[in-house]
């Protein structure tokens, strides 16, 4: 995968078709460019290494130093990294997640970059990158969430993609009758349960209600929230989810699907690469949008955006900005988001989508069938403390649904304290 990407990117460089070449002509970049990236999973890592290498090849006078940090570890290390002797470019996430660093003045305001004409192609995420009226980073990728399922198993039992909740439950019952679990999930690190809540809540009560809940404007003990949990509980009571999921990480839950013990997985598109690595072919795998629960509300979709930022203490601001131009250019975004790279969706509107059925479906879904709105995900939409207490409660609910009243009371107590 790495070599394909490298050769194709090298070809790209040789052809001189990067959007940045014009700007680079003005003055040669020199010195060092220090990048700290959290793209530590195998496929993203290869992409990031390719990016650094090609950017270095474009600017021979520049020494590009790339440090790749474990993705989970980076979520806490970023604070130290931004403090003393910061790098020039870092990875982070869009929306509320930028808040602490923007408030503390650790991210550089790059509104001037966004004012350049090339950046109009990124307009769809400008809102997610804007805080306090300025832009603080650039997106390089986003990806859809949805249900990835074993098409061969569905065919075997004569099932088709469900479009509403009744069909969903009926499918699930058929699978269970045949000894196959409907869903695999690993909730050890909690966030996977957040995806389920995002979907069932937004399908039950709509995007606006979900975001109001995220902002702390609705009580957790509200009847509408209870309705969400009641819908969720239908699946739990059927035994739709694999047993002992509280012990597994999301990766450890994959073998259940690969071995055919579970038929589907509500996940982000990044899981496709892992499923293919596990030996599933594209004939066995397929994707469907999370089905309608309440026909009165429009579809809302989780599509988290991953980003690059410049720390305000960056030493080589010129090179850092040039790098952001490079990663947001249509050609590079097409390249890095292709099936051979990240296998995700490019943000640049002029970029093309790779010929990959999951990307094509995801792109179509997000462009044409997400009228409700785009959610950034439970742990990015909700305030940090609310998210951590919330996801713990969701995990408990999935194991002991009878504890619901106690869980909701606890969440409500937290909400009142945080959003007072």
């Amino acid at each position: 995968m790495h070599s394909i990407l490298k050769t194709s990117l090298a070809a790209l460089v040789a052809a001189g078709v990067t959007a940045s070449s014009a700007a680079a002509d003005g003055h040669a970049l020199s010195g060092e460019l220090n990048i700290i990236s959290d793209m530590s999973n195998p496929a993203p890592r290869a992409v990031m290494e390719g990016l650094a290498e090609d950017f270095g090849a474009l600017h021979p006078g520049l020494e590009v130093n790339l440090t790749i940090v474990d993705r989970e570890a980076w979520k806490t290390q970023i604070r130290n990294a931004l403090g003393a002797n910061p790098p020039d470019v870092v990875n982070w996430y869009a929306a509320n997640r930028m808040r602490p660093y923007v408030d503390a003045g650790l991210f550089a305001d790059i509104s001037d970059l966004w004012a350049e004409p090339e950046f109009e192609a990124l307009a769809s995420t400008k809102g997610a990158m804007t805080l306090d009226g300025a832009q603080w980073g650039v997106p390089y990728t986003y990806y859809q969430w949805g249900v990835y399922y074993r098409k061969d198993i569905f065919d075997q039992y004569g099932l088709s993609e469900p479009s509403n909740w009744e069909e969903e439950l009926a499918n699930c019952q058929t699978l269970l009758d045949n000894g196959v679990k409907c869903y695999t999930i690993g909730t050890k690190f909690l966030w996977t349960a957040g995806g389920w809540f995002d979907y069932i809540n937004s399908r039950t009560n709509g995007y606006d209600f979900h975001i109001a809940l995220a902002r702390g404007e609705v009580e957790w003990t509200d009847d509408r929230v209870r309705q969400t949990f009641a819908n969720w509980r239908q699946l739990i009571d059927m035994g739709a989810f694999i047993d002992d999921h509280q012990t597994y990480s999301w990766q450890e839950a994959l073998p259940f699907m690969v071995n055919g013990e579970a038929a589907s997985y509500l996940m982000g598109n990044f899981a496709v690469a892992a499923m293919r690595d596990g030996g599933l072919t594209d004939d066995q795998l397929d994707f469907y949008q999370f089905p309608v629960i309440n026909p009165d509300v429009d579809f809302a979709e989780d599509a988290p955006t991953d980003t690059f930022h410049i720390p305000s203490g960056a030493q080589n601001m010129d090179a850092a900005k040039e790098f952001l131009r490079f990663v947001t250019s249509a050609e590079v975004q097409t390249e890095i988001n292709s099936g051979a790279g990240l296998g995700q969706l490019p943000v640049n509107a002029n970029a093309s989508i790779d010929d990959d059925k999951f990307l094509a479906q995801g792109f179509d879904m997000l462009s044409n069938n997400a009228g409700g709105g785009i959610m950034q995900f439970f742990d990015r939409d909700f305030e940090a403390e609310m998210a951590s207490v919330g996801m713990e409660g969701l995990q408990e609910f999935m194991v002991f649904p009878d504890n619901l009243d106690d869980i909701l009371e606890r969440l409500e107590e937290t909400r009142q304290r945080i959003y007072q």
Binding site: K188, D244, Q246, E385, S388
Partner: protein, 308 residues
């Protein structure tokens, strides 16, 4: 020589009084900078609300009220769980002392290859806690784990120890006991080397054997080893952080948290950065530890005094 006395410098005149302090100075500076001052800072931070980046806001004792349930607030449930888990750790971890003693007595013999056996028993203490945690979490895996394979062989149902909120803490303590027992064993093995053979001989002549010999003759001579084993085990129980982090990450639903893990979660984890509240937990943990430290210091002081 005596004529030079009035001309001696200030240092020369006070040499005897000053030199000990000069030798103590580096240690005192480091102890102050890395231990005493941070303790004071923790107290100070615990009276604020602070995200670690921006400005601190003074909130007085609000963090403690929330944590301990002073006034009209309910006691913080996570704190309650963590506190009781700490107690479980402290009590059950002490099992490492008798277990270590037993293995040490068993290995304290001269047969071919005893050094090899001893090092094999000591092996778990050499590997990192993180590795111990990983090995045990595989051992406990609900389907593939060795534990369930063994239980299945005897017809007992599968258990998911780390996924069950009532069992998970005990599962982690059992993992922690493995290296800790090895540590206590090594302490007792060296202690047994120092046992006076003449006393054993004399006791034997008087007809002592079996557990009477152990209880009245051997154990009193092992008292220094027992004290050290007690100290390191209590300290080990209080720093159970790494095993918990690796094996359950505090879950399922926070049932395996201990105070140190809760403190880390509130102040330094992905969804944390509530430095004030985290510092308040640290202060409470400090007072718990202070109880033990005071006891250790007192018993050491008593022993010193008894020696003279």
């Amino acid at each position: 020589m005596a004529t030079a006395a009035p001309n001696r410098g200030w240092y020369k005149r006070n040499e005897i009084a000053i030199t000990p302090w000069l030798f103590l100075l580096p240690a005192m500076i480091f102890f102050a900078v890395y231990v005493i001052i941070p303790i004071g800072q923790s107290f100070w931070i615990s009276l604020h609300e602070w995200d670690g980046l921006g400005d601190k806001t003074w909130v007085g004792t609000a963090n403690y009220e929330r944590l301990l349930g002073w006034g009209d607030a309910n006691i913080d449930r996570k704190f309650e769980t963590s506190f009781w888990n700490n107690i479980k750790w402290l009590v059950l971890y002490l099992l490492a002392i008798p277990a270590g003693l037993f293995i040490a007595l068993f290995l304290n013999q001269t047969v071919t290859g005893i050094r090899f056996y001893k090092s094999m028993f000591f092996f778990p203490f050499v590997i990192s806690q993180v590795v111990v945690g990983l090995v045990f979490s595989w051992f406990y895996l609900p389907r593939e784990g060795l534990l369930n394979a063994v239980l299945g062989f005897f017809g007992a149902g599968p258990v998911n120890i780390l996924g069950d909120p009532t069992l998970a803490t005990y599962g982690i303590i059992a993992a922690g006991l493995w290296p800790q027992t090895a540590y206590c064993m090594i302490l007792y093995l060296t202690g047994l080397n120092a046992v006076d053979p003449e006393q054993v001989e004399a006791a034997r002549l008087d007809g002592a054997k079996g557990h009477k010999m152990l209880w009245y003759v051997i154990l009193p001579q092992l008292k220094p080893a027992t004290f050290i084993a007690f100290v390191v085990t209590i300290i080990g129980a209080l720093r159970s952080f790494d095993l918990i982090s690796v094996m359950t990450n505090g879950g399922p639903f926070g049932s395996t948290r201990v105070l140190s893990f809760y403190m880390f979660e509130e102040s330094l984890s992905e969804f944390g950065f509530r430095m004030g509240f985290g510092a308040a937990i640290a202060v409470v943990l400090f007072f718990i530890m202070l109880g033990f430290i005071a006891y250790f210091l007192y018993s050491m002081y008593r022993d010193e005094k008894g020696a003279h």
